[in-house]
């Protein structure tokens, strides 16, 4: 059984929680469908979004230079980081040289990718994640299980207990309104005492050097504007959009596709540093250039992190984000994970290592294609998963049994005669074999699947028979 299957099994052992997870995310998917249906030209919009992203990826370095120039002209200091450790030390130096020790953070997926929190804490800096969901998992020492809904794996009682232990809410209190109220008070004191604010970035506009941040809570804006004097925006290099006209496409798409809202509560555009404040932007590579050069997987850089492919994925919904063991779970995460961008490992061994560690993820999919059909930037997600399977199998990163079986099945499928003969045998065998032959502990395949009742004849046989009569 693969690592993902094992973790998925653990997740499914709490039946009511697992079915809540499944239903809730499907509910988000349905809200998305409603919001999408309100836009007449949705498909046109998706096509435009996709082509803008293609254009950006085709000319990425030029657009980054344009963005850097515009931002510098605005009085913003731009840094580039090759990898996570570079980003971490840039940030630590900025904080240290100013003697700052209190940091509030928002939109943390990118800094999580670099393990910034651990690094700063190790160096004596207090880092507070301010998104409610992110704060909850920070308290619990967990990683997010969804890129938009980081604490979706938790029930209210678990959160109530965490808050009771960490911020002193009454024991047994699990009311979302009361817990949110307590978090508001707790985090407000952090905002009002912060010296520096670190944010992620949803979009970066090349023509003006603007960074755009979308949140529902307003935590990024509170972090930046309540008290912090040092503002650091961290972005992956693929976040660039050329113009505001292009940006409009994405601000129309993002929230509809993510949560089914017409737009996030706050869509904030920061261009010039505020009075008495410093504004820095760190542009991170961390393996992205390498993915950009890869003709098969380059498209995955179009991702705007809406999370829709997770909500719609029948495997994700029933196995939970943590079963993927990677920062970004679900279909898109399964494409990125084998590339990996762990730090402090030499490039070559790092890649092999990630391919090995996450070799099961491209197989954690039914290839139903639902992900690709909801993706707002038209990434061919299921096809990329399929491509990974080919590569990993060739590189012998899948289990030897699977390889032998696949080879055998491949031969059968390639031959007309063998195929119809095998079909006959299988239809008979499945009907007459005792269940134990398939559903035993030795056959991992049977643990994860239930065979359909086989038809008495194949389509070919049926066609020939009915044609005759």
């Amino acid at each position: 059984m693969s690592k993902h299957s094992k973790e998925g099994k653990k997740f499914l052992s709490d039946k009511s929680k697992a079915s809540w997870h499944d239903d809730t995310l499907w509910g988000v998917r349905k809200k998305r469908d409603r919001a999408v249906s309100m836009i007449d030209d949705w498909e046109v919009l998706r096509e435009r979004a996709s082509s803008v992203k293609e254009r950006v990826l085709d000319n990425l370095e030029e657009y980054i230079l344009q963005f850097e120039n515009s931002a510098r002209n605005n009085g913003v200091i731009v840094h580039r980081a090759k990898n996570g450790s570079e980003l971490n030390s840039i940030i630590l130096n900025l904080l240290k040289s100013r003697g700052f020790t209190r940091v509030v953070k928002s939109k943390s997926m990118l800094t999580e990718e670099c393990s910034l929190n651990h690094f700063l804490e190790y160096n004596g800096i207090e880092v507070v994640d301010t998104d409610l969901g992110e704060r909850i998992i920070q308290f619990r020492g967990e990683s997010p299980s969804h890129i938009v809904l980081p604490a979706i794996h938790l029930k209210r009682e678990e959160i109530g207990e965490t808050f009771h232990n960490r911020i002193g809410t009454p024991a047994g209190c699990s009311d979302p309104i009361q817990l949110t109220a307590a978090a508001r008070v707790h985090l407000r004191s952090k905002f009002l005492n912060a010296q520096a604010a670190i944010t992620g970035v949803n979009f970066a506009v090349a023509e003006s050097g603007t960074v755009v941040i979308c949140t529902n809570e307003g935590n990024a804006d509170m972090g930046l504007n309540a008290s912090a004097k040092l503002h650091i925006h961290c972005m992956g290099m693929e976040k660039i959009v050329p113009t505001f006209g292009d940006l409009a496409i994405f601000t129309r798409l993002l929230a509809r596709n993510a949560t089914g809202q017409a737009i996030t509560t706050y869509t904030s555009h920061y261009t010039l540093p505020d009075e008495d404040c410093e504004m820095h932007i760190v542009i991170l590579d961390n393996g992205r250039s390498e993915r950009l050069r890869n003709p098969i997987f380059r498209n995955s850089l179009k991702c705007i992190r809406c999370g829709a492919c997770m909500n719609t994925c029948p495997v994700y919904r029933r196995s939970g984000g943590h079963s993927y063991r990677y920062l970004i779970p679900g279909p898109i995460g399964s494409i990125i994970a084998p590339f990996g961008n762990c730090q402090n490992v030499s490039k070559k061994s790092q890649n092999n290592q990630n391919e090995r560690i996450y070799s099961d993820l491209p197989f954690a999919s039914s290839l139903c294609g639902s992900c690709s059909s909801v993706c707002p930037v038209k990434i061919d997600i299921h096809n990329q998963l399929y491509q990974w399977r080919q590569i990993l199998t060739r590189k012998k990163q899948v289990s030897p049994i699977k390889r032998v079986v696949m080879k055998f099945v491949g031969k059968i499928l390639a031959s007309h005669l063998l195929y119809s003969y095998a079909g006959k045998i299988a239809r008979l065998a499945i009907r007459i074999s005792p269940r134990v032959l398939i559903y035993n502990r030795l056959n991992a395949w049977g643990l994860e699947r239930e065979l359909p009742v086989p038809p008495k004849e194949s389509f070919n046989e049926w066609f020939r028979r009915t044609q005759k009569s």
Binding site: L154, R184, F191, G218, R252, Q261, I263, H269, Y270
Partner: protein, 144 residues
């Protein structure tokens, strides 16, 4: 006229309270009345009684959002820190969607701009929608 109808229904969906005023003076008067009358409500969250009233530059029909920039508020934190937020917007300043918005507002020129749609919200606890995660708990839109 259709734009206004779409705008008002999106404003309602965003969790904001919509009010109509005959003119701008009346809009301000109403805004003040609303933010002050309700500021006690926030006790459940925090004892501060802050509120912000601001005039929006443009509204967006497609999503019910209202655009503010550095000229709309005395400091950038105002629209976010207030428990009660009232945004005033003229019926003549409603555009259809984001593409049009960015054409009419020159979004980078004042250094900071934000489109706000409804009160601050979170659903991070079991997907239950709660208003007032960090920013405004009550959000009023006064259309004149």
């Amino acid at each position: 006229m259709e734009l206004i109808e779409i705008f008002t229904s999106r404003v309602n969906e965003s969790g904001a309270q919509l009010h109509i005023a005959p003119d701008i003076e009346e809009a301000y008067r109403l805004a003040e009345e609303l933010v002050l009358s309700n500021s006690g409500d926030g006790e459940r969250f925090i004892s501060e009684q802050e509120y912000t009233i601001a005039e929006g530059i443009y509204g967006v029909a497609e999503n019910g959002g209202i655009w503010l920039d550095s000229t709309s508020v005395s400091s950038r934190v105002r629209p976010f820190i207030a428990e009660n937020l009232a945004l005033i917007i003229s019926k003549s300043k409603i555009c259809s969607n984001m593409e049009e918005l960015y054409r009419v507002v020159s979004p980078a020129s004042t250094g900071f701009g934000v489109l706000i749609s409804g009160p601050s919200k979170t659903a991070d606890i079991e997907q239950c929608l709660v208003y007032g995660a960090h920013g405004a708990i009550k959000h009023y839109v006064i259309l004149y």
